[in-house]
């Protein structure tokens, strides 16, 4: 392939097809004081893509609280790092792979896992867990079923093979994602403080080495592709789909960790989106240095690759390493042990330039800083409150007919794939390898991992709720942070850090921009108030198909710490006769709930108001109660409300419950509202007084709801004779356990 000339670039405005605007092209010319050649243009195009440059989200990032006593690394590196004491730290980050997964679900999801893992071990940490957050359209659609099966097998195929357990996640099925599924993956690693490694290219004269897989023509322009709307043509964009090789990744993990412990590494960076271009430029710009390399030395899989192709290739399972000068042979020997090439391709310089040679020939020369996020354009836009909000908010749940029996509604909720058991999914994930999974996926609001050799535990969760964010991006985003935190404290863990994933539509549309702005403010305000620093995140914009944006879907991955893992809790009821109680405030806001979705697929109503002071007080009480071992179970109220929450605790434990709702109000609202700051706990009667004391000291209401019983789930309303819900545990469990599998395997017609 011959690369277009300067004239051809200008005549055909080739930057446009790479996703750059005319103004951006001008800005490049000004920076360089000349016109960029094709390779240089390609480098700018990928690094100035939304995916790499955060052009629309960057201005908001300063809103996030990013510091704290435990923070060893905030945003800006490949992943955040939080200290957990005893010389250990937790490294974590979330990443989206929405567009690739829409086109090729298996490989899209698989390479997403591979990419986020590299972000973790590049910091010197051993990856110890993966989670995923998924959004699909409704399962009635065959295309959706195909996507679900593909994505789940892709996550399994990659994660299982590399030996990192997939310990949790969340999945929603909703019309809002019909054209544009979301696949966000989070990885968590564990590192000794002294092993922490950064992605910097410092030390003039130090070698620059490419290690790992051979470079091919995979995914050229993947980052640009991730920054566009999905169209019919994107289905044709074959090269943007990459095939993952988990076997090579496993070897790369072991080789990199061995290399890092050998002490010769100055900096190391994975080659993710925008491949060699981004890794070189990021490593250089972080340390204010430059890099000079000869890409004819890069080990290749295919013949005849042009400089443009080599610089932009997104071949997976590769890293860029800057070792100390003189240690090249040692690096090569370590990689050779794992059968991987390690080749010196260049040197660190002091002039801040990325200078690329193809043999003797200089093929690109650009200032590293100008390529980096510091140099990329930033767009502040005018947001506009979307018109749909007024109509949606005007929905009044009071118009719903009252019923005397809500058993059928509970069963419908338990059967809806969003709420039903996710066992069909996590059974395909190896969630046990590495022997740390103390609370596996399923029985609790978060997964709990032990830290071998200590008494500590780490709890991890990932959460989002696009329906509520759609109805009120600010409140909805706060609710997501609050829910993630509740999920951790329900396991007895104190939240210590969060990473966010911003999944939105096209930010150039004022309504989407408004959603983005509001949601980020919500995330930031909640994180600040609750004292949970943000250590990093990811943005995936342009999630649209046929002009329809997805629901604005910020997701939050959160990590919590248990100083003593033996105080952990799960959500299942444990023993007949235990008291069941509500810790927190009664709630009856039905807006945006799964219950309303039964009657109206589009989200309607005003979503629950978030009261952060209440959330904080509740957290304190819950952690104290867990620490004193007063509780047998804890489960936060989220999708499906109190009724589903209690039912889940029953089904997990195979026991029933006898509940009486002591509040006034519409029974459906009491049963199914998704208001926050509420946790259903169970405990031995003898611990009641102490729990009440702790709760009242913090001003948190504690309400007795009933008790655990044998084989039936029953809800009554005080003063009403006919029970609101009566169903056997067996029947509810059959429905809940099999629903997802049935919906997925159901034949058409």
């Amino acid at each position: 392939m011959k690369e277009p000339t300067l004239t051809e670039i200008k005549e055909n405005r080739l930057w446009r097809s790479m996703g750059l605007s005319d103004e951006e092209y001008q800005k490049i010319c000004e920076t360089l004081q000349r016109e960029p050649n094709y390779t240089e243009l390609g480098m700018y195009a990928v690094l100035w893509s939304e995916h790499c440059a955060y052009k629309h989200t960057r201005p908001f990032f300063k809103l996030f609280p990013t510091s704290g006593e435990r923070i060893l690394q905030g945003p800006g590196e490949n992943a955040g790092i939080v200290d957990i004491g005893d010389g250990w730290a937790v490294v974590f980050k979330v990443e989206s792979h929405n567009h690739p997964s829409a086109i090729e679900p298996y490989e899209g999801a698989a390479t997403g896992v591979g990419g986020i893992l590299r972000d973790i071990f590049t910091m010197g940490a051993r990856p110890i867990a993966c989670l995923n957050s998924l959004r699909f359209g409704e399962l009635a659609n065959d295309r959706v079923k195909h996507l679900v099966k593909g994505v789940v097998s892709g996550i399994a195929g990659y994660g299982n093979a590399v030996g990192v357990p997939t310990v949790g996640g969340e999945v929603y099925f909703d019309q809002g994602y019909a054209g544009n599924p979301l696949v966000n993956v989070m990885a968590v690693g564990l590192v000794r403080h002294e092993q922490i490694t950064k992605a910097v290219a410092s030390g003039v004269g130090n070698p620059v080495m490419v290690v790992g897989s051979y470079t091919g023509r995979d995914g050229i322009h993947g980052a640009t592709f991730a920054s566009e709307e999905l169209t019919e043509e994107s289905e044709e964009r074959r090269p943007a789909v990459q095939v993952g090789d988990p076997f090579t990744e496993k070897l790369l993990i072991e080789a990199c960790l061995e290399l890092i412990s050998s002490g010769v590494v100055v900096g190391i960076q994975d080659m993710g989106a925008a491949g060699l271009t981004s890794s070189a430029c990021e490593m250089a710009s972080r340390s204010g240095s430059g890099i000079e390399m000869d890409i004819s030395l890069v080990p290749r899989r295919e013949a005849g690759m042009t400089p443009y192709e080599v610089m932009l290739s997104e071949s997976q399972e590769r890293m860029l390493v800057v070792p100390k000068d003189g240690s090249e042979e040692q690096v090569k020997a370590i990689f050779a042990k794992y059968g991987l090439p390690a080749v010196v391709v260049g040197r660190v310089t002091d002039d801040g330039m990325i200078r690329i040679y193809d043999g003797e020939k200089l093929v690109a020369e650009v200032p590293a800083k100008s390529l980096s996020t510091d140099g990329a354009p930033v767009y502040l836009r005018e947001g506009k409150r979307p018109a749909y909000l007024d109509e949606a908010h005007s929905f009044d749940p009071e118009i719903l007919p009252l019923k005397s029996d809500y058993t059928a509604d509970l069963l419908k909720l338990l059967e809806s794939p969003t709420i039903a058991s996710k066992e069909w999914i996590y059974r395909q994930y190896d969630h046990m390898v590495q022997l740390n999974t103390v609370v596996p996926p399923g029985p609790a609001d978060a997964a709990v991992l032990r830290v071998k050799g200590t008494t500590k535990g780490i709890a991890v969760t990932i959460d989002g709720n696009g329906r509520q964010v759609y109805l009120d991006p600010y409140q909805g985003a706060m609710a997501v942070v609050a829910e993630a935190a509740r999920n951790l404290i329900c396991c007895g863990a104190e939240p210590i850090g969060l990473t966010d994933g911003l999944n939105f539509g096209n930010p150039e549309r004022p309504e989407v921009y408004w959603q983005l702005e509001q949601a980020i403010k919500g995330l930031a305000d909640a994180a600040r108030f609750l004292g949970i620093p943000v250590t990093g995140g990811n943005a995936s914009l342009y999630n649209e198909s046929s002009g329809e944006a997805i629901y604005p879907t910020p997701i939050v991955g959160m990590v919590g710490l248990l100083e003593d893992i033996s105080t952990r809790l799960t959500s299942s009821f444990k023993e007949v006769g235990d008291v069941i109680a509500l810790l927190g405030w009664p709630g009856s806001e039905l807006g945006g709930s799964e219950y309303l979705k039964l009657v109206n697929p589009i989200p309607v109503g005003k979503p629950p108001r978030v009261d952060l002071a209440r959330e904080k007080a509740l957290q304190k009480v819950m952690l104290e109660a867990a620490g004193e071992r007063l509780l047998k179970s804890a489960h936060d109220i989220s999708e499906g409300g109190l009724a589903v929450c209690v039912a889940e605790s029953c089904l997990q434990g195979g026991l029933g419950a006898e509940i009486e709702l002591p509040w006034e109000g519409r029974p459906d609202a009491l049963l199914f509202a998704e208001s926050g700051a509420r946790i259903v706990v169970s405990l031995k009667g003898e611990n009641w007084a102490r729990l009440q004391q702790i709760a009242s000291e913090s001003g948190v209401p504690l309400t007795r709801l009933g008790q655990v019983q044998g084989s039936e789930i029953q809800f009554r309303h005080t003063g009403v004779e006919h029970p609101l819900i009566t169903v056997s545990v067996r029947q509810a469990k059959d429905v809940w356990k099999m629903a997802l599998e049935k919906a997925l395997l159901a034949e058409r017609g």
């Binding site: 086109i103 090729e104 490989e107 897989s213 023509r217 090269p239 095939v243 988990p246 899989r301």
Partner: protein, 88 residues
């Protein structure tokens, strides 16, 4: 009855981790003259059809829709009439 023999391969240029690993395995077994290996799928479909043309149409369609993944794979097939086959 017709028998379709369908070969499904990754498109040229798409990474083939299996092929790579097998090539590595063969070379460590001493087959040093192996240049490269590609691993794909081989699928046999036995079907009833009114005519060769009808069988052809069905096989082309099902291969494109289900048996191969056109995003990363290519395929080839041959179709032969067979006596009633042992169906397994």
């Amino acid at each position: 009855m017709y028998k379709a023999e369908i070969k499904v391969m990754l498109k040229p240029g798409v990474l083939d981790p299996q092929g790579k690993a097998v090539a590595g395995g063969l070379s460590s077994m001493g087959y040093n003259q192996v240049e490269s290996v590609r691993v794909g799928k081989y699928i046999e479909v036995f079907l009833r059809a009114d005519s060769q043309a009808d069988a052809e149409r069905q096989v082309a369609e099902m291969t494109h829709r289900l048996l191969a993944n056109p995003v990363i794979e290519t395929y080839q097939y041959t179709l032969v009439p067979v006596e009633s086959e042992e169906v397994s």
